[in-house]
């Protein structure tokens, strides 16, 4: 089979990384087109990496008949519409999380995906493709820790990224802490516990950065979730982690426990100096999940070539979003919230 020809929309930090991977590091794939509303950005990437087409308009790009697939790395508010358009243009679609900023959008994506079952659709829950996370999944499936009982997830952005976030959040709707930061963890919990959330209580506040409270958002928050199979989930999300980008996941089972990234170490170096024995920590998501960002897109390309769907589905995107909204509601009302399955609530719209 010939190479899969991909166009990418969005050339921000993560978009550029995806573009570079598509151009150089993914077997059997060609980066055919790039698209950015910032013309210089698109042209610079085109020239630097020898990309055939550059666009400033997404609708133009998806009309290109040479394309097999698009990778959507634009701002979250555009995901839903761009996914729908690409599917309608008969393209395979990889979209960064979230499916949209609102649950309704996620459901709209799902409807579109269901109409195009011949197309590969994948949402960028890259952690499932991180070699440590996938190793943990395998250990669980092999019964290494017995039955999972409780999952604890930390998703903490580094303090040094907080100014950038504030600037963004003052001008845009981010979805809030639980939807924006915790969404990956909510997906992981569903994946490892093999169950859906039933009830949630979420609390939080703005401890070091009170201005976040003015946005009706939390700087640091915690949620406790009861799942349908009576397992438990603990989620801590935050934007003010002094030591770096701290993504840690623990699954406690009846016969053992797994921890992933319990120290978010940057590399295999330990520094000993007058402070003690130091493991320096990850800077951010691009450093921590470099391999996962590559592997998820490899899987996307393989799915296209092998005419199959990835394990992570549009339903994973919808259900994680629904749980994120339940967390958000609980945080905002202060009360226990029952998680509404979107499939029961809006069946008629499907």
């Amino acid at each position: 089979m010939r190479k899969v020809k991909v166009g990418i929309v969005g050339l921000g930090r993560l978009g550029r990384k995806h573009a570079e991977n598509l151009a150089f590091r993914i077997p059997n794939c060609e980066l055919l087109a790039v698209c950015s509303v910032i013309k210089e950005e698109a042209e610079q990437v085109q020239e630097e990496w020898g990309v055939k087409y550059a666009y400033t308009n997404y609708d133009d790009m998806i009309q290109n008949k040479e394309l097999d697939a698009v990778l959507i790395a634009s701002p979250s508010g555009f995901h839903c519409v761009q996914i729908e358009k690409a599917l309608n243009a008969n393209l395979h679609v990889f979209s960064e999380k979230p499916l949209g900023l609102y649950l309704e959008e996620a459901l709209q994506v799902q409807e579109a995906v269901n109409k195009h079952k011949d197309k590969v659709f994948m949402v960028g829950f890259m952690r499932r493709y991180d070699k440590s996370y996938s190793y943990a999944k395998k250990q669980i499936e092999e019964g290494k820790i017995g039955d999972p009982v409780l999952i604890r997830c930390y998703g903490l952005d580094p303090t040094k990224a907080i100014d950038g976030f504030m600037t963004f959040a003052k001008n845009n709707y981010s979805g809030g802490l639980f939807l924006d930061m915790a969404i990956h963890d909510l997906d992981l919990a569903r994946w490892y516990l093999n169950s859906e959330a039933k009830r949630v209580w979420a609390i939080g506040g703005s401890y070091g950065y009170p201005e976040i409270k003015e946005l009706n958002d939390a700087e640091t928050g915690a949620a406790l979730v009861k799942f349908e199979n009576d397992t438990m989930g603990i989620f801590v999300a935050g934007r003010n982690c002094a030591h770096g980008y701290h993504i840690e996941t623990e699954i406690i089972g009846t016969k053992g426990t797994l921890r992933i990234g319990t120290t978010p170490e940057k590399n295999m170096v330990t520094v000993f100096d007058e402070n003690g024995a130091i493991k320096e920590c990850s800077d951010g998501f691009l450093e921590r999940f470099e391999q996962a960002y590559l592997s998820e897109v490899e899987e996307f390309i393989s799915c296209i070539r092998e005419n199959r769907q990835p394990d992570v589905t549009v339903e994973d995107g919808v259900l994680s979003t629904a749980l994120g909204y339940a967390c958000k509601e609980s945080f905002e009302t202060g009360e226990l919230v029952s998680v509404q399955s979107p499939y029961k609530v809006v069946p008629s719209s499907l």
Copy 2:
């Protein structure tokens, strides 16, 4: 000043350890009397360690005019009454946790303590005297992590102790998972966060040992607590920890984070074998807190000699118990519970 003469009641595992410490390892202290309802036990300790008096009846022991103080290590159901009697007999009192099995008992102890302000009273929250826990407290007081935001506490008993627990729990009221196991953590949270609990949601279940459910108790549980100063507490308690006795505490602050015992390592040896690099884990509380059990009683003796009260007070016992009961109520009802301050609820009974 002459040596402080102490009598001990209860010579079970922990009682024997306290007795040995009093006999040999605590400066300026003499183990004058031992008391156990099991006559052979009392006599054996008397003989082996050269203790002057041995009793089978607690009331007899506290009549001994040579005594300055008692250490109460009897079963939990006796604590309240024995504390009261000892104070009335004009003795300084060190009591193992809890103050009693019911909140009313804790308040009764408090009333007795308040009537005998000239006597030193101390409850056995030994973790505060563990050198790692006290080091963490000092770091926080020095501002090392800014303001505390969230505490996470794990209190997990080893799987291999579960048969012993089941035998005990079938015949006795243990208080349940949150009062029996989590009480130390609830005290630590109040100590580190410097605030009282406001609301709690607790969930749990019996995953590997369904027979615990028949006792209306949980094998493993989790609680999320909102404190009055808006800080957060996460508590995981359990009786089925495959790798040993896992006591871990983390305090996340606005400028840094502290973890205590993140791997509950037995000692400083790492074993490398075909399984990988292994840190063996603590067996149980006597191994993990050997130094703390000694240091807390040293502090008790010092308080008597120096005519001062310890930092851990009877109120700490009462308030931790009140929080424990709130967790228990939440677990049993499935609902969010507001923590009732015992001082507001029952003022007339005092």
Copy 3:
């Protein structure tokens, strides 16, 4: 500039990995030809990855005028001759270590390289391109640990690879423990200490596998090296490491210490089970140095495109080999050995 067209010789485990990287993961590079004496091997790779040419004869391959460069991953005994031929055919050359099985071969390679200064030549000391090792180098250059004083290097192959090694070693000259296993560490020591070796004492034996002694080789050995700038090197090499592939390097400086890979962890998962808290360990070099094997060849391709030479030079290959031979001689004689600089010994041949 157009893509660099590369031919590879040798399609064993490491050769295949290099071929895959050249085919799919290295920017600006095309795997144009593969060569293996095993015809099926070459044809299978050709077909699977769509490689234009497949050869069973190295001389044929290097006559291909489309080629810009060769990557040599054949058995060690062929390196010297194949390097020389490729340079004479006006090709850029990347060769796996060692430059040859004998010091004379290394010097012969050096002579050839010096005759073709317009060609990029690189020897596969991949560890310098591992992100942890290169991070440590940067820390040292920035003065983080003051002046390096002592380096300690462990290079231990897993026990489970020993049967394969024995089969190989009974039929081939491996170079012996210090040349075969320790050569990467000897290069690292020279790199980090910025000095050449002066004297060495090496000892060792065959503790679990006495049959290695019959080959006049050591299963596990240790060498102490004094460098010209009075710094010290400790090298432990072995073929019987129960827990896996243990590559660890420590640099002690006047103001701090760096350790790389002090636990050779497989990934970021910690498993807690009845054995304790376990970090599983690396299986072997392909797992541990996956990123480094990719990065070194990326650097090779970049050097060709940018018309510059890599930091690791043919002299590094020669001098590390000379030190390896001194270790071997010391081990065989039991005595202290002065390291002979090949540049003083054989100047006339240059």
Copy 4:
């Protein structure tokens, strides 16, 4: 049996710690007398801890007929004579290491000990009584790591102690780096490997503190030792460890490896801050070996009460000293040194 009555000579840092342990923390023991050439020091301890006798003259103390035993914690130069005198006064003797500053002194002690076989004699190799070190010994004896192949020992004093050392060393003969710092490690190696040293090469220098070279000593040094059973020992000793007191020991066996103290962590707290995840390190020997200093003297008292000899013998002191002198000779001459068994070399002097 009645309490063992002990007199102590030397009330420096370690002496005071021993005195405090004897006074308060060792079962079945009474601190009867203290002796220091500094009168105020002796009187202050006498008064503070209620000690019956205080002396400024050692000869006077050992005439006290109430004494059963002495603990010698005076400067190293006095050990030999004070041991001999105490044995001749019919007292049990615990002496801090070393037995003397010269090998001749160690042999003289041995002769005295052999003349008083009814007396308990113990040399303060406290590490054998550290719970991690003794656990490792037990693991080895149980075959956990197969046969020991190589031991690596780090004995590094903290940089912040170097000024104190320089002041001392300018006015006193310390024995030099290998005898003063490495002697504990040399004993451990003999204990774990169960063999005596055969040949040694030791190197070193003064990297951050050139003034140490003027004393003909090394600031940091390394020795490689071949043992009689062909096992290997690597010893790194130093006085300039930026991160603290680093005592680490590794035993590599044919089936596994043990590491003790691979990070010399101060306690169980991990600090996460902008530097990363930090384990603070031990300050010095009193902090690291607090438990061992207590346990070794407990064992001494138990030996007296139970009329038996400890596992660590005067021969351990002699043979470790002999190996230390071989290291020193190798360092000073730059050459390989054969370790002379004192039992073969100087039989006539015995």
